[in-house]
Structures are given as C-alpha cells and as structure tokens.
C-alpha cells in the first residue's frame, strides 16, 4: 500500500517548490504565524481584562446609584451612611480603572472603546447623579474626565449617553421623594428667590438641551446609534415627573401619605440599552 502511494506521482512533496525538502517539511511561514499568535494572544488578554473590569465597574456604579436613591434632599450633605457606602464602592471602582489603565494606554484607548464604553457610561450616570445631588448642577465633561485615572479617556459619546441615563435616575429620585415627603425636591436661593429651582426645572432644561443637540451627522456610528432610543426614554422620564407634579398639585392632599406611583413597569425601559 505505501509502495503504491510512493509510486504515485501526485504525492504532495513532488513539485519544484524552492523550499522543497523531502520528508517532514514544516511551513516556512511558521515564525511569522508564531509572532502573530503572540500578538493576538496579548490582544485577546487585554480585551478580556477590559471586558471584565467594565462589567465590575457597571455593577459597582449601579450599586452606588441604588444607595444614592435613598437620599431625600438636594444640595444638602449626603447622609454619612450612604456616603460611606458609595465612597467604598467608588474606591473599588477606581482600582478597577487603574488595573486596566495600562491596557487602555495610547493607541489602545480607542481600540477597546467598545469594551469599556458600557462601564464608563454607567460610571458617568453614577457620578453625574452624585454631583447633581450635591450641587444641583450638571457635571461637565472636564470634571467627569478628571475623576478618571489618566489613560482612561472619557469620550463625548459616553458622556452624553451617561447623561441620558441620568435623566432616568432623576425621575426616580423626584417621584420617590415626592411620594415620601410630599414635595418636589429643589433648592432655595436666599439672595434671589427668582432663582429657586426644583428638579422639574432641571429636567426640562436637560430635555431642551438634548433636543437641541444635532446628532444627525453621526449616522449609524457611535452616538447616532443609541441616541434615538435614549431620546425617547428621556422624554418619557421627564413627562412622568411632569405628570406626577400635576397629580401632586391636583390630588396631593387627597392621597394617603406614603403612596408611591407604580414604577414597576418604568424600570425596564430606563435601564435597558
């Protein structure tokens, strides 16, 4: 059998390749592919570390947001128990960011943008919510970027998408506070009462700003892909607070204390993206 095979002229080794060598011939391209293998392995390892960190950061951010939702006043100090909780989580989150900062250095910042983006958006949501509770202001992109370790970039897209989600948190905060305290959260300006602001004013100014933002040029890439859906959710959130305030004014006194609007269905669309 093997004799027959050898007589057959078609056995693979019989041709005039330059690199021809009888018997156990290895591919001349092996060194090249070994190099590629090492490079690709490094890339996949980096990618996986980033995905994992992004997931952990997302989870920590969500927990921070849950804790912060127990705050009941604006521009006041955050109760020490809640502050301690969030600080602990924020510190852990910083560690996560630091651990992947080398993986996101230089040219790799954008290479793994899609992997880290989810974590950063959730992080944006958490720190912008905390910033709002403390100062009743929208955190700027520079302030937010400064809170991240060097090497971890905050893209404009992630910033905007995080702020879209902030509206959902503000809606929950406003409605829960209204239900438990019977009044809309806001702040008084002692010097100029005309500048008193409540959360509904803020939500409306967010909505106006978002609506004015022209993202048509983004097309199906980056921001353009998610904005449409988030815009709808954002508007719904603002309208919910408007309706709740209307309800509070019209029927507020008739409602039993502690009544909470049914939020069960609202949770999903706000959180899913």
């Amino acid at each position: 059998m093997s004799d027959k095979l050898q007589e057959m002229p078609g056995v693979k080794r019989h041709h005039d390749g330059i690199e021809k060598e009888a018997g156990s011939r290895t591919s001349p391209f092996m060194p090249m592919f070994e190099f590629f293998r090492n490079e690709l392995d490094e890339h996949h390892d980096r990618r996986e570390r980033i995905i994992k960190a992004s997931r952990d950061i997302t989870a920590a951010s969500k927990k921070i947001i849950f804790s912060l939702q127990r705050v009941r006043s604006l521009k006041g100090t955050i109760p020490p128990k809640i502050a301690a909780e969030t600080q602990e989580r924020a510190a852990a989150m910083q560690q996560q960011f630091l651990s992947i900062a080398p993986d996101l250095a230089g040219i790799n910042a954008w290479r793994y943008q899609r992997q880290i983006s989810g974590g950063i958006q959730e992080y944006m949501e958490a720190i912008s919510f905390e910033h709002y509770l403390r100062h009743q202001k929208l955190i700027s992109i520079e302030e937010a970027a400064a809170s991240l370790p060097a090497n971890v970039d905050l893209t404009a897209d992630d910033y905007v998408l995080g702020i879209f989600d902030l509206v959902g948190e503000l809606m929950r905060f406003a409605i829960t506070t209204m239900a438990t305290t019977g009044s809309l959260p806001g702040s008084k300006n002692d010097e100029d009462p005309a500048q008193d602001r409540d959360i509904l004013v803020d939500l409306r100014s967010l909505r106006t700003s978002f609506e004015a933002l022209d993202t048509a040029s983004c097309g199906g890439t980056g921001l353009g892909k998610d904005v449409e859906k988030k815009m709808e959710v954002m508007k719904t959130c603002v309208e919910k607070v408007e309706t709740a305030v209307y309800g509070m004014i019209i029927r507020g006194r008739e409602r039993p204390k502690g009544w909470v609007p049914d939020l069960a269905d609202d949770r999903a669309p706000v959180e899913s993206f």
């Binding site: 290895t26 391209f29 690709l40 230089g106 929208l138 992109i141 910033y159 700003s209 040029s217 890439t221």
Partner: protein, 243 residues
C-alpha cells in the same frame, strides 16, 4: 436654554455640539477618500481577475496593469493616513478596514503572481509578502503599538490572506483549464503552508475565526484538484535541477 445659574452650564452642550460636528467632518473627509479607494479597489481586482484566464507565460501584462492600479490605491491610502493623522486610529478604523483589506489582498495576490516591483521589496512568483513588505509597498507602518497613527493591523493582513487563499483555490481550477498542471501543485503547497500557520493561532469567536474556518475547505478543494491530476498521471515531473 438654561442660564448660567441653572442646572446646566450652556458651554457643556456647546462643546458637545462642536465635538459632534468635528467628528462628522472627519468622517466626511474619510468617506470621500474611501469612495475613490473603493473604485480603485474594484479596478485592481478586475485586472487581477484576468490572471484566471491568462497562461502563466503571458502574465506580465496583467501584472503590469495591476501594479499601476495598486499605485493608485497606494496614493489613496496615503491620503487616508494623512487626513486621519490627527484622530485616534481606532476611532475610525472600522470605516476603512474593508477597503484596506481589499488593497492588501490585491498586493498579496499581485505579489504571488510575481508582481509589485519598484517598491523596494524583492519579488518572485509564488511569494508571500510579509506584513512588513506589504507596509513597505503601501508606504504605511504596520502593527503599530508605540504611537497612535495609521497602519495596517495584523487582523487586516490575516483577513486578506484568507481572501488570497480563496482566490488561489479558484486559480488552481482555472490553471487546469488553461492546461497548466504545474501551478495547482504549487498552490497546494503554498495554501497548506498558510493553513498550518493559521492552525497555531488562538482565534476568538470573531470574524477572523469564522473566515479562517473556511480555509480547510479551500485546502480540500485544491487537494482534490491535485488528486484528479495525479490520478490521470498529469502531474509534471519535478524539474531535473531540483535536488
């Protein structure tokens, strides 16, 4: 619009808008170059397609036209590298990666046929250009890690290599039709060598993995051709000069 004492500093959304606008402008510029690169890619590939109906002895004319077409592509790649020099490479990479893969494939195929001279790299029929040689021909860096600039990635090179294999398996069939029984053997060895290389890569479940799964079918297709030839005693004897 919110006033400064309000919740939102108006500068926040102003700067966001200008960032979005800048981004759109870069995209527009890239799209413009890609339009010509796309057309040049079609031209180069249609020229190279003639290799399927041209006997090896008359390939020179095909190679020369292909080289001219590749030269145009190199120019467009240079433009692309230029307009994206101020942007992060990976931010827009997905816009052009397909077109770049097409160019790299044209270079690889033309190189395998023995072409792409005058670019400072050694040429020879049956040759596989390394990623570095491709970079030299296209006049751009490859596999950049230490700085953020336009370059050819390993993934792009490998994608083009898979396209080359698909093209060569077609060429193996058409060579037989042209009465060239030698070339399928050469292709068979070449493709097997590349296949062996792909097998040591640890590919994740991405597009490279899916496409590389198809290599084995091409290997088999080419082996079947070699089998058909050898069964009928059509395989040329090894050249006497070979040891």
């Amino acid at each position: 619009m919110a006033n400064p004492p309000g919740m939102i500093d108006p500068r926040i959304f102003e700067s966001l808008q200008s960032k979005i606008d800048e981004d759109a402008e870069v995209r527009d510029q890239i799209r413009e170059v890609l339009q010509s690169l796309d057309r040049q890619g079609r031209t180069a590939q249609s020229i190279l397609s003639r290799a399927h109906s041209t006997p090896a002895a008359h390939l020179q004319a095909v190679i020369q036209s292909a080289e001219a077409a590749i030269k145009d592509e190199v120019e467009s790649i240079g433009k692309l590298a230029n307009i994206t020099s101020n942007s992060p490479y990976y931010k827009y990479n997905n816009m052009w990666t397909r077109d770049v893969q097409n160019v790299v494939f044209s270079v690889l195929f033309c190189g395998w046929l023995g072409g792409v001279g005058e670019s400072g790299v050694a040429t020879e029929p049956g040759k596989l250009f390394t990623i570095e040689e491709v970079g030299k021909i296209l006049n751009v860096p490859v596999n950049l890690k230490d700085r953020d600039a336009f370059h050819i990635t390993i993934e792009e090179y490998l994608q083009s290599l898979i396209t080359l294999i698909e093209e060569l398996s077609r060429l193996a069939i058409n060579s037989v039709t042209l009465g060239d029984y030698q070339r399928p053997l050469q292709i068979s060895q070449f493709v097997k060598d590349i296949h062996a290389g792909f097998q040591i890569l640890n590919l994740k479940n991405d597009s490279l993995r899916r496409r590389s799964d198809s290599i084995k079918y091409n290997v088999k297709k080419i082996e079947d051709i070699v089998y058909d030839l050898s069964l009928r005693n059509l395989v040329p004897k090894a050249e006497p000069t070979a040891p």
